[in-house]
Amino acid sequence: MIVSVASGKGGTGKTTVAASLATIWDRPLVAVDLDVEEPNLHLFLHPEIEGGETGHMEVPVVDELRCTFCCACSDLCQFKAIAVMGKLVLTFPEMCHGCGGCIAVCPEKALSPGKRELGEMSWGRAGAADFLMGRLRIGEAMSPPFMRMVKSKLAEMIAASARDAIVDAPPGVSCPAVTAVMDSDVIVLVTEPTPFGFYDFQLAWEAFVPLGKPMGAVINRAGLGNDDIYRFCGDKGLPVLVEIPFDRAIAEAYSRGRVIAEISQQLKETFVSLQGKIRELAERCDAGEAVHA
């Protein structure tokens, strides 16, 4: 079972929840940081890194001696990553989406695959769990292709020995967030009962509902704000799985890099209960019950 911990708004507590779940999870697990633009799960889980790999995207390299300036490549490219200007072929590797179309369509075989570095993947052990993370190269604008590489590595790890995965997803509701959650079995939306939290929570719900995955909400900083989120969840049939109280002790522990499931028995029980409810959600869906119709 793959569980994605996502949110609309940033800073609502995805990593807090993902790290705590990873710590109390009672089955074989890999904890995955898919927020490749700003990974931080490792700051809480302190993994021992055992291996790594650099991810690349295929970009075209031009052999100017073979090019006849026919423009087949630049006519095909939807992103203007390759342009024929008079007797010069220009490439803009940072704009390339790596589809390989230009290389395939060139009648003179004047284009060959080169590489653009996307980021660094690393893996290891964090306590009883396995750990996997991606870190996007500074300056790289496209995270989904790199996230897909991290996800392939995850699939490889799960194929090698069956285990669950807790995925710390990026914030927002655009391509990176959707890429992170789209092949998970359960989506946990972490939110807070503030106006910003509520607004972005609605966006996240709208973005993820079409994926047809079982979803539930975790309300962090419960006690702040008003009850708009609770009403919204009630209307949409979205279960509120657990609440995490708005408590100074939690903020202090977080700022010291501690996993909050480890600071009190009560919080530990909150996350054990969350684990149970996530499993119930997944099982209910397996039993064929319609999700959020």
Partner: protein, 121 residues
Amino acid sequence: MSKIAITSEGPGLDDLMDPRFGRAAGFVVVDLETMSTGYIDNGQSQIMAQGAGIQAAQLIARAGVTCLLTGYVGPKAFQALSAAGIGIGQNLEGLTVREAVERFRNGSVQMATGPNREAGR
């Protein structure tokens, strides 16, 4: 050899210049010898997420112009225009196409040596 392109909001000499290059409404192409004009519509650029400047550079290069008069040019468009050997007169704004051409003819438009706008703007 004497054709220039001016970013424009419309097809004629009396239309206002469009200060944008990649996402300009269009380009008035002026033959400096005969003062005859043509127009290249650039409406397609409005739907592009990226690469509008590069596409615009390709469009005017294919029209055989030797010089561009516009407001702002980003780094990728600048590179593409330079590769095609097209001179760039930039920082022109609030003029009609005709006024821009006159400034160019009397030598008061300086050719740019670098882009004057960030990518994607």
